[in-house]
């Protein structure tokens, strides 16, 4: 494929998707490592879970990946809208399937009369949001083809 003279770059949504995946992966790795080290040293963990604040970076994407200003500032067409909508729809559908499986498997495995810690509920909601973000990002990247296709911004 001849790409000489063409500016090969990912579009804004691909960059945001990669950024989201990187932040989520880094948060999971750093937090779990910190918790593991702390538990090994002290037997309990208080500082480790605080590393989830890294996820606040996910809210910074509008500032980090700004829409280009100027004459050639069109960054989103119908195909992009379609890809984003499909990714969001797929992510939410996958989330509800996983949630149903999780709740009913737990119900069947542990038994309806047995109990789970209450902290499992907020963790489910929080984990669900991360799951949706991850699946939506992967779905966006899959639909665009993971890498740049010589699109000009």
């Amino acid at each position: 494929m001849n790409t000489a003279g063409k500016e090969r770059t990912m579009n804004r949504f691909q960059k945001i998707a990669w950024f989201n995946l990187a932040v989520i992966t880094a948060t999971i790795l750093i937090t779990s490592t910190a918790i593991a080290i702390e538990i090994r040293m002290r037997g309990y963990s208080t500082i480790g879970p605080c590393f989830v604040v890294i996820l606040a970076l996910l809210k910074a994407t509008p500032f980090l990946f700004k829409k280009p200003q100027g004459q050639s500032g069109v960054v989103c067409d119908e195909r992009d809208h379609f890809i984003r909508n499909r990714a969001a729809s797929f992510a939410y559908t996958a989330f509800w399937y996983v949630l149903f499986l999780f709740c009913f498997l737990l119900w069947f495995i542990i038994g309806p009369e047995n109990s789970v810690p209450t902290i499992a509920l907020p963790l489910t909601a929080f984990g669900g949001a991360l799951f949706i973000k991850t699946v939506a990002s992967v779905a966006i990247l899959v639909q665009y083809g993971w890498r740049d296709k010589g699109e000009k911004l």
Binding site: S89, L99, S115, P117, T118, I119, L121, A125
Partner: protein, 147 residues
């Protein structure tokens, strides 16, 4: 009315009937069998909810597309997407609020029976269907418009 509106009305009707049936059966369990409210509600909601979910999910099969006739254009697609987006948002908001409310009111160091998780998941699903049906009806204008 077009097919989407018919399905939406049908789903809302099923939810309403399931809610009424659940309340009636729960009452019977409380006053006739002497069960406490929590248990009666659990037993009373099982069958109406299961039947309701089966009926709601099979609505597209009950209202089939007419062969050889275009009954879905871009406007319908936009409405469908809007409804899906709102329903997913509402159901996640419900899940988040319920989970946080239970956690903060009962304390994070307590235990909760596993059937509560199943109840929350079912509640979220019902809210998703209801929000989708309502959004479709509101977007189309609730009544037939030469459809």
């Amino acid at each position: 009315m077009n097919r989407q509106q018919k399905i939406a009305w049908f789903q809302l009707a099923v939810i309403a009937m399931a809610a009424i049936a659940s309340a009636a059966i729960s009452e019977i369990y409380v006053y006739k069998d002497g069960l406490n409210f929590s248990k009666a509600w659990w037993f009373g909601t099982v069958w109406p909810v299961i039947l309701g979910i089966i009926l709601m999910t099979s609505a597209p099969l009950l209202f089939r597309k007419k062969k050889g006739q275009v009954d879905f254009d871009e406007r319908d697609l936009t409405i469908d997407r809007w409804a899906a987006r709102i329903s997913y948002g509402m159901s996640y908001a419900f899940l988040f609020i319920i989970c946080m409310a239970i956690g903060t009111t009962s304390g994070f160091d307590r235990l909760i029976p596993t059937y509560w998780l199943a109840r929350i998941a079912l509640g979220g699903f019902i809210i998703m269907i209801a929000a989708q049906a309502l959004t479709i009806l509101l977007c189309y204008g609730r009544q037939a418009k030469h459809g």
